[in-house]
């Protein structure tokens, strides 16, 4: 090998290595720039007024609690809606459906994953909102519940594909053993297959929650954008405002560097931390699962 070739090899290898490490750099950059723009808010606005129930930036009220609870309300309801359908569909596709139905169902779920959230928000405004107003007899269809339904729809493809992967990695021997013991397919699914895949299914749920938590456009378009504290179960059928929607709808109108601008970045920091926690839980769960599988196989 000539020395020229040697140098070329070394160069390519180092370029690839740098690219490989770039993700760490980008996560770092994101954190640095969120902190740089958002942390000054803590200097000017006291913590007690940030963790307050009144969000009215024009008069200097920056209480983010209504936004945090709005996000929690919509995300939790969306998860509850998406869970039975997501997990149920995953079990059906992986355990019950014949091959040709599988080949039809998987692309359909992928279509849903591909539909941009702004399109779902659009259909939400024009079709689902008027429908809920009439059907549930509400003063407005722009409610937390409408947002939860759309977010549920958005979370479903994530839940289905991750949960289905988890079910597929359960060794066929487990199912055969269940059936050989005289269990029906149904009993095998619930007694053997699903419990063996439970950490993977848990990861699916966590990633679904993350998807719902971070969604912006659809939820901004259909939840009515009212930054009020949700109280009681009724709040589900009243307008709310999530953290993501607040950033998206107000950032365009604020002066760069103003208090309002800084607080919006601060909300971004909280969102970043929320998604960090959810993803770390999700990946910790699946690493544990892999380690266990390795132990069993070795």
């Amino acid at each position: 090998m000539g020395p020229k070739k040697q140098i070329g090899n070394v160069m390519i290898t180092s370029i690839i290595k740098i690219c490989g490490y770039s993700s760490i750099l980008f996560v770092g950059l994101i954190l640095v720039f969120l902190l740089k723009e958002g942390l000054p808010a803590l200097k000017d606005v006291p913590l007690t007024s940030i963790f307050n129930v009144r969000w009215y930036p024009i008069e200097g009220y920056f209480g983010i609690l209504p936004l945090v609870f709005g996000t929690l309300l919509v995300t939790i309801s969306a998860t509850l809606i998406a869970l039975p359908f997501g997990i149920g569909t995953a079990i059906y596709i992986s355990e019950i459906a014949p091959r040709w139905i599988k080949e039809i169902l998987k692309p359909i779920v992928e279509i849903l994953a591909g539909i941009p959230s702004v399109v779902l928000g659009f259909i939400g405004i024009l079709v689902i909102v008027p429908f809920f107003r009439k059907f549930l007899d509400l003063p407005t269809g722009l409610t937390a519940f409408t947002g939860a339904v759309l977010l549920g729809l958005i979370a479903i493809p994530t839940i289905v594909s991750v949960a289905e992967d988890a079910l597929n990695t359960v060794p066929p021997g487990y199912r055969q053993a269940g059936l050989a013991l005289g269990a029906t397919r149904w009993q095998t699914i619930w007694g053997v297959t699903v419990p063996s895949a439970k950490t993977g299914i848990l990861t699916a749920i966590m990633l679904g929650i993350g998807r719902a938590l971070g969604e912006t456009m659809a939820v901004m378009m259909v939840t009515g954008n009212a930054p009020v504290m949700p109280s009681g179960l009724n709040a589900l059928f009243e307008p709310v405002r999530t953290m993501t929607a607040t950033i998206a709808s107000e950032m365009g109108e604020v002066a760069t560097g103003s208090q309002h601008y800084q607080v919006l970045f601060l909300i971004g920091i909280f969102l970043f931390l929320f998604s960090l926690v959810i993803n770390i839980i999700a990946s910790a769960v699946s690493t544990k699962q892999r380690k266990r599988a390795e132990r069993i196989l070795s």
Binding site: C19, S23, I115, Q187, I189, L213, M217, M221, I247, A248
Partner: protein, 289 residues
């Protein structure tokens, strides 16, 4: 005898009830998806005309076409590809072919998982802070494309890694035994074998970028432009943002134009999806291992 069969029959009934329930749940999940797509096609198709696809909006967007939004989305998707494809594929190669199983590699993995989970609007904030303000690119195609690129990276990296890992190890062993260097093996043997998988992942990543609104809200998208952007430092109209604008900000917007615009975006995005699916199934059919 019949009393012995009684519990057996009961479990059989439970099983068929359970299967029916799961079939029902799947149907309830799948039918709205198909209904949604069919509905948008039906309502949007009447808006399609030569003028709709090739003219700029007039009369406060209520008349005319959506050409600037279509071109804008094309520019943003291409800009995203230019940055995220080389970087993402190279990173995928590093993780699949070079990286050892050590603390740094685990850190890279955690970083990728987190990039994938960060809410899109937070990418928008980041793009605003870094590209628009700090690097002074302004609200421009450049800032928006760079923001979308970083958002797309995790998809491209992980699909590249997966595609390369699925190439059997014997390919590497044979190539190395013939005297090829590691890079020659990757470039001449492994990459061509993994290419269909990589292309599929790239398309799926770009598909997401093309449909995103939140990351471009403050980094490059603009409400209305009378003419097409002339350089990458200009801001641009884009289909997703345009849909948001005409469905929430413009009173008296004709329904037909709204659905027509949504249909154009849907064709764009689902068309990419279809291409990816075709590439994947073709490659699977042709694969020799």
């Amino acid at each position: 005898m019949s009393s012995l069969n009684e519990p057996r029959r009961k479990t059989k009934i439970i099983e068929s009830l359970g299967f029916t329930l799961l079939r029902l749940i799947t149907l309830i999940t799948v039918i709205p998806i198909l209904g949604l797509v069919a509905y948008i096609i039906l309502k949007g198709a009447p808006a399609f005309s030569w003028q709709f696809l090739t003219a700029a909006p007039t009369d406060g967007m209520r008349e005319g076409g959506i050409l600037p939004a279509i071109i804008g989305t094309l520019y943003l998707t291409l800009g995203t590809a230019l940055f995220s494809v080389p970087l993402g594929v190279a990173a995928g190669i590093y993780i699949a072919e070079y990286a050892q199983d050590n603390r740094w590699t685990r850190l890279i993995r955690i970083a990728i998982i987190n990039l994938a989970g960060i809410p899109s609007v937070v990418y928008g904030l980041f793009g605003l802070g870094l590209f628009v303000l700090f690097l002074k690119f302004g609200t421009s195609i450049l800032s928006a494309s760079l923001t979308l690129s970083i958002m797309t990276l995790p998809v491209i990296i992980s699909t590249t890694e997966e595609a390369l890992r699925s190439v059997p190890n014997s390919f590497r062993v044979v190539s190395t035994s013939l005297g090829a260097t590691r890079w020659q093996t990757i470039w001449k043997v492994i990459l061509p074998q993994g290419l269909p998988g990589i292309i599929t992942g790239v398309i799926l990543g770009l598909e997401r970028a093309a449909g995103e609104t939140a990351p471009i809200l403050f980094t490059g998208a603009t409400f209305f432009l009378p003419e097409l952007p002339k350089s990458i430092m200009d801001s641009t109209m884009a289909l997703p943002y345009h849909i948001f604008v005409i469905s929430t900000q413009v009173p008296g917007m004709p329904i037909k134009i709204q659905y027509g615009t949504v249909l154009v975006l849907l064709i764009f995005v689902l068309g990419m999806n279809l291409v990816a699916t075709i590439i994947r199934s073709r490659a699977r059919a042709k694969r020799q291992w």
